[in-house]
């Protein structure tokens, strides 16, 4: 993004809250606070150091107030931008701007959701749209299914290729001890699962879990003296194209094209320079669309690109190494968990799923119904 300097701020602490199905009395704010405490412990800072607070959840309209009260802090900088699951990538660029302008010195970005425990209908109430609601789209699935139908029509993408995305995610999830899904998955099982909104079966759709976490950011200067090796913000980019699927200009091209370009330009990097790829896989078509729009394969080739295990653990491009929203965890606004996984990969903390010799990672967030796209490129000291 124009105005931000590559490497001027860094992620220094990360942590997931409890994930999956949390204790029944836990609130979204409990999970945020749990994530904040764990992430602070991860970097050796304390609550007294925190003077920037960024957070979002579908379950609290004023989560900034709720979390500040809960933590007992009065932060100088607060931002509760909420644009769906990509909100936290927007927060990274906002935190970087605030840190480099001196509006705060240590910023936390937090998320919490209990959508599995309370039910998705209660966690994220659908807004009435006079031009869509009466046709009973099963949202968000139907919106992404419409995008998939268009991609299949225009580029010959097949249901088997979509299923390959789910199978690759599952293979990664089996390497992640905290992933929700624990059993292997085949293409045939994806295709024969319960149909949701054609061409998606339930296995083309992300999980519905609880979860959350936190990310701690500070200036590059301060980051150098903390507990773990800093993971620098090299590039940020964002784009919003619509709110409702009937207003999306072209269902085969997402705002990731623009957000990716901006992030690569700021980072001075190209897709070939990226070692680890973390993409918001709310549905199997997402991974294909974002691989294309972020330049990892030509437009229209995403389906063929993911076939034959190329993005699976033994493939040539490591994508969604935690198991993704499809098989690891999806609390509704999953973007924060992509930033956590990208950071851990760059710190080489990922055990069986660790990508060897990685120095750069891309974490791409998606919100709404392909509506808001935000890309963050991260790198180790060696990449700055």
């Amino acid at each position: 993004m124009d105005g931000l300097q590559r490497g001027s701020a860094a992620i220094v602490g990360v942590a997931e809250s409890d994930l999956g199905a949390v204790a029944s009395e836990m609130s979204p704010i409990d999970l945020m606070a749990q994530g904040v405490h764990r992430a602070l412990a991860d970097c050796g800072l304390g609550l007294r150091d925190v003077d920037g607070l960024l957070c979002a959840t579908a379950q609290s309209r004023t989560s900034g107030l709720a979390l500040a009260e809960y933590l007992g802090i009065s932060p100088a900088f607060v931002d509760t931008t909420i644009l769906g699951g990509s909100s936290f990538m927007f927060h990274v660029s906002h935190a970087q701007a605030a840190l480099t302008l001196g509006l705060c010195k240590v910023a936390v970005i937090a998320y919490g959701s209990t959508q599995r425990t309370v039910g998705r209908r209660h966690a994220s109430v659908r807004e009435y749209n006079p031009y869509e609601t009466r046709f009973r789209p099963f949202l968000p699935s139907t919106a992404y299914a419409l995008a998939a139908s268009r991609h299949m029509h225009r580029y010959g993408t097949t249901r088997e290729q979509l299923a390959a995305v789910a199978v690759a995610a599952r293979e990664w999830a089996l390497l992640n001890p905290v992933a929700w899904e624990k059993k292997p998955l085949t293409i045939a099982e994806v295709l024969s699962a319960r149909m949701i909104s054609y061409p998606f079966t339930v296995r083309d759709c992300c999980l519905v879990t609880d979860g959350g976490g936190a990310v701690i950011m500070t200036t590059a200067e301060r980051a150098a003296s903390l507990k773990k090796a800093p993971v620098y913000v090299l590039g940020c980019g964002q784009a919003i194209t619509h709110a409702n699927i009937s207003s999306m200009p072209d269902l085969t091209v997402t705002g990731a094209l623009e957000s990716g370009r901006a992030a690569y330009a700021m980072a001075g990097l190209a897709p070939k320079d990226i070692d680890v790829v973390e993409l918001y896989d709310a549905f199997t078509i997402n991974t294909i669309l974002f691989l294309e729009d972020l330049g990892f394969c030509p437009k229209g080739e995403g389906g063929r690109f993911v076939a034959d295990g190329r993005i699976a653990p033994k493939g040539s491009l490591p994508v969604n190494t935690n198991g993704g929203g499809l098989s690891y965890c999806h609390p509704g606004m999953y973007g924060l968990l992509l930033l956590i996984e990208a950071t851990r990969q760059l710190r080489h903390e990922c055990g069986a799923r660790q990508v060897a010799d990685c120095a750069t990672a891309i974490a791409h967030g998606n919100g709404g119904v392909l509506s808001s796209q935000s890309t963050v490129i991260l790198g180790t000291e060696a990449a700055v």
Binding site: Y131, E132, R134, F135, S149, R150, M195, S197, Y198, S246
Partner: protein, 96 residues
Amino acid sequence: MLRRPSSTLASSARLPAATASNGLGTVYATTVVHPAREGGPYNVALIDCDEGFRLMSRVEGIAPEAVRIGMRVKFRVHRPGGDESPYPVFVPMEGA
């Protein structure tokens, strides 16, 4: 339809304040929703009308899975009855 009186587009050359459509269009994207509990599968589609605007609707009169992208369709008023106001659906054009 798609009236947004406060939109800046409404006063620009890109979109007239109100467009009278002749009711003909083409299926741009289509899906079949399979409800988990009650009711059978039904179609949800995006229709590109010949005047250049797109709307969500459904194609009726054929099986929901038989709706194809590129299919020519024409407007029909659906009257749900009761207190619900009518809304636009589409049927395949004859011979299309």
